[in-house]
Symmetry: C2
Subunit: 125 residues, 2 copies
């Protein structure tokens, strides 16, 4: 198993998730050792939810799983880059394709693009 | 000034740096409020160095500054995405274009690509 420097930041490393085809950055989440190993084993992006304090296989609720196509690690072995196929077309819980849909324009944030799904429908909440 | 959620993680937010033209993810570093504001003011990517505990305008030593072309913020206002023009062609202190030059292949990491500069020459160390 590939050893990363989980000790550096108290056990959690940032993991960038990028669309393998388009290069669009979809989201950033955190991984602990367990989620890193589960991602390697299953080929499905699995993070550590800091708010829920539990293992989080992205898309188990919404169906929008992330199939891992390639994994890169940075020069310090403390940041992960996943290149994925995003099932369902959207990574963000708002229904937007990318979590990074807020653009800095002058001194305000402007939402860019439209949601590709209705969160109420997908999450049944 | 645009307010981000710096309180959430003790004052530091992850900032992804992506090549504005190619979409290649170049590096990830952290920003505190001061570095965020300095980045907005100067248009040069400025991070917080966790190891040196100081403001870090990327490239001041090597000359490889990052001119900010676009800034995105994520849905939770706690992650930053910079799209930059990387002066000097390389973001990584190893001389590689991207810090993410280690590819996961089976159970090992393989270095991909060649450095575009010699760190010894650039950093004079």
């Amino acid at each position: 198993m590939i050893e990363l420097d989980f000790e550096k930041t108290g056990g959690l490393l940032p993991a960038i998730c990028q669309d393998a085809e388009t290069g669009e950055v979809l989201m950033l989440a955190f991984m602990n050792k367990e989620s890193w190993e589960k991602t390697l084993e299953t080929g499905m992006a699995t993070y550590w939810s800091r708010s829920r304090q539990e293992l989080w296989t992205k898309g188990l609720t919404s169906g929008n799983v992330q199939k891992v196509k390639e994994i890169r690690v940075d020069c310090d072995d403390d940041t992960i880059l996943l290149k994925v196929e995003q099932i369902g077309g959207a990574a963000c819980h708002t229904g937007h394709r990318s979590c990074f849909h807020k653009l800095v324009e002058g001194d305000k944030l402007t939402v860019v693009g439209e949601p590709v799904f209705d969160p109420k429908e997908v999450y049944k909440k």
